[in-house]
């Protein structure tokens, strides 16, 4: 890629620079010529992508001084740092990192006179779909048993507060993100894909008809950058992809990899029962659970999201699922 020159000397901050989305966002911005400051807790983190336009600064969204240092002279801030796991040992971490951390970033941006913050939220703030794909103005139909979704919703309320205080913030809401990148606790799609390739993934939940929305990581990054340039202050934009069922997901995987794996359809009731055992395992022994009841309950619902607003207002584009998945598979086959 030829590095663009017109963004030279424009300094932007990316929090969560070692995250699944953050690391690729850093790279894309750097390739566009921006002077990127990447905030991460460990500047020797193996997931960080090195580039001459990226400067990594050791810090934490919970450490206000490190935020001030990293944000100095930045015109824009991309806030992607979050506790995005399904489970963490200390439940309070979800609140601290996702809500207090976001508040810290916004407060710092307000004090330093940053032009715009793009806050990365999630479609999880809407949760399941009752009938038609969810759009931005739709209400949330169910409660918030999942800590990640609850705290990300509370983080959006913080954003609304700071917009009232005069800070320019735009929210983007990616759906289930997949793509080339590290296999982490927060990315279930990578686990399914690599598990299928290796032959260690054996099951399909329920009848496999449950539909979810899958967004390619590059689309999210483009959506974030476009939100910085073209988004309207205080607005939310769903950055989604294609709606695909579990059956469709594994069918595409089979076609693209050419590998035929035997997959067993596991009844939802069995998954729920197993998740309850996992729940107690994590409560009693502090062991990382494979699956939790609140996620088992979610398998009853579809999670479909409508990206129409972003397509119209941000010129957002969706990479077809088969194309994105094929790139993802290539990446894993090259790197394992």
């Amino acid at each position: 890629m030829i590095e663009a020159g017109y963004n030279k000397y424009i300094k932007v901050l990316v929090t969560g620079a070692s995250g699944f989305i953050g690391r690729k966002l850093c790279l894309t911005l750097a390739e566009m010529g921006y002077q990127v400051v990447g905030l991460c807790r460990n500047i020797n983190h193996p997931f960080l992508i090195q580039h001459r336009n990226i400067q990594f600064i050791k810090g934490d969204v919970m450490d206000e001084l490190s935020l001030q240092k990293a944000m100095k002279d930045c015109t824009g801030v991309y806030h992607t740092a979050a506790m995005a796991k399904m489970w963490c040992r200390n439940e309070q971490d979800f609140y601290d990192i996702n809500v207090v951390g976001t508040r810290n970033v916004l407060e710092c941006a307000l004090n330093l006179g940053v032009n715009r913050v793009v806050h990365t939220s999630t479609c999880g703030v809407w949760g399941p779909t009752l009938n038609l794909p969810v759009a931005e103005d739709d209400p949330r139909a169910v409660g918030f048993p999942i800590s990640y979704e609850r705290t990300k919703y509370l983080a959006e309320l913080e954003v609304r507060n700071y917009v009232k205080k005069g800070l320019d913030v735009v929210i983007v809401n990616p759906s289930r993100v997949y793509g080339d990148g590290p296999i982490t606790d927060s990315n279930t799609v990578s686990k399914m894909v690599t598990g299928y390739i290796k032959g260690t993934w054996h099951f399909i939940p329920g009848k496999g008809t449950q539909v979810a929305n899958y967004v390619f990581v590059d689309d999210v990054v483009n959506g974030q950058i476009s939100a910085m340039q073209n988004g309207l202050i205080g607005e939310r934009y769903i950055l989604g992809g294609e709606d695909v069922s579990f059956n469709g997901f594994f069918k595409t995987l089979r076609e693209l990899t050419g590998k035929k794996r035997r997959l067993y359809k596991v009844p939802l009731k069995l998954i729920k029962a197993y998740s309850v055992i996992e729940h107690f395992k994590s409560k009693l022994f502090g062991l990382t659970p494979f699956f939790l009841p609140e996620f088992a309950d979610r398998l009853k619902f579809n999670q479909q999201y409508n990206s129409g607003k972003a397509i119209k207002e941000l010129n957002y584009r969706i990479t077809p699922f088969a194309v994105g998945l094929s790139k993802t598979i290539h990446h894993f086959q090259k790197n394992t």
């Binding site: 009752l130 038609l132 209400p139 409660g143 918030f144 919703y153 509370l154």
Partner: protein, 262 residues
């Protein structure tokens, strides 16, 4: 005749969940909520996603003539309802002297006066030859003495007494009245923060609004007198009935001291 439900306080929390659960059943809706509370968005969502008609009334129910205005609007638009869900309410978690007199007036007007007036007007509005339902939202707190909920708990005790009386008066008619006595519900964002910190049994008494709404509507159509959603909450009430009064007071005082020392 198709069922039509009038739901107050419908834009957020439990009221929103009532609206969604009713819409899922294909029941037409008249939703009442404060202006600027996002009611039209909710109404649109329900119309698009479910097979139901939705009519919105944006009004402040703490004002003296609002209850009458609601039924006037129904008459003007020639709408009739046969289900009333008295859900709108104002809570508090504060020492008595911390809130202003205006707050308590609004709280009592909304939780008590408005419930009484809407119920009275509803009984005048309905066709008594067909089945009609009223669901009054009380609180499990109405059964207990809970400090820092003094006025709220008292208004909910009122709703409980009022509902039980009506049930007796309306025996043998086509009007069925249920009392919903929920424990804690994860509704408002502030509560989400507070309930975030609860653990153990206390956490088990907190339910999601959609769960409460589903149990309540099921109970209403089964014509149950009182609906207490959640196993932990039903257990709590049984324990409460078994413990002698002096012991209860002791427990509450001890807990109060813990609250005070924080």
């Amino acid at each position: 005749m198709k069922n039509t439900a009038l739901i107050t306080g419908a834009s957020e929390g439990l009221g929103k969940s009532f609206a969604i659960e009713m819409a899922k059943k294909g029941i037409d809706l008249v939703l009442v909520a404060l202006p600027e509370s996002g009611l039209p968005h909710l109404a649109n969502y329900l119309r698009q996603n479910f097979d139901c008609q939705v009519f919105c009334i944006e009004i402040d129910l703490t004002l003296p003539h609002s209850a009458a205005a609601v039924f006037d609007r129904l008459d003007v638009h020639q709408l009739s309802v046969n289900i009333l869900i008295n859900n709108a309410g104002l809570g508090n978690w504060s020492w008595f002297e911390e809130k202003s007199i205006d707050f308590y007036r609004a709280q009592i007007d909304l939780n008590i006066t408005n419930t009484v007036m809407l119920t009275r007007l509803f009984l005048h509005h309905i066709n008594k030859h067909l089945p009609n339902y009223i669901l009054n939202v009380g609180s499990l707190g109405g059964h207990f003495i809970v400090p820092k909920k003094q006025v709220y708990g008292a208004t909910k005790s009122f709703v409980g007494y009022f509902t039980r009386c009506l049930q007796m008066e309306l025996i043998g008619t086509n009007v069925h009245v249920s009392l919903l006595s929920p424990g804690g519900i994860n509704t408002k964002p502030e509560l989400l923060v507070m309930n975030n910190n609860l653990k153990g049994f206390a956490k088990a008494t907190i339910l999601e609004a959609d769960v409460v709404a589903r149990e309540a509507i099921e109970g209403l159509f089964k014509m149950r007198k009182e609906i207490i959603p959640g196993f932990a909450n039903r257990l709590l009430l049984i324990i409460d009935k078994l413990i002698p009064a002096f012991l209860k007071e002791l427990i509450i005082r001890r807990n109060l001291r813990a609250v005070l020392s924080v």
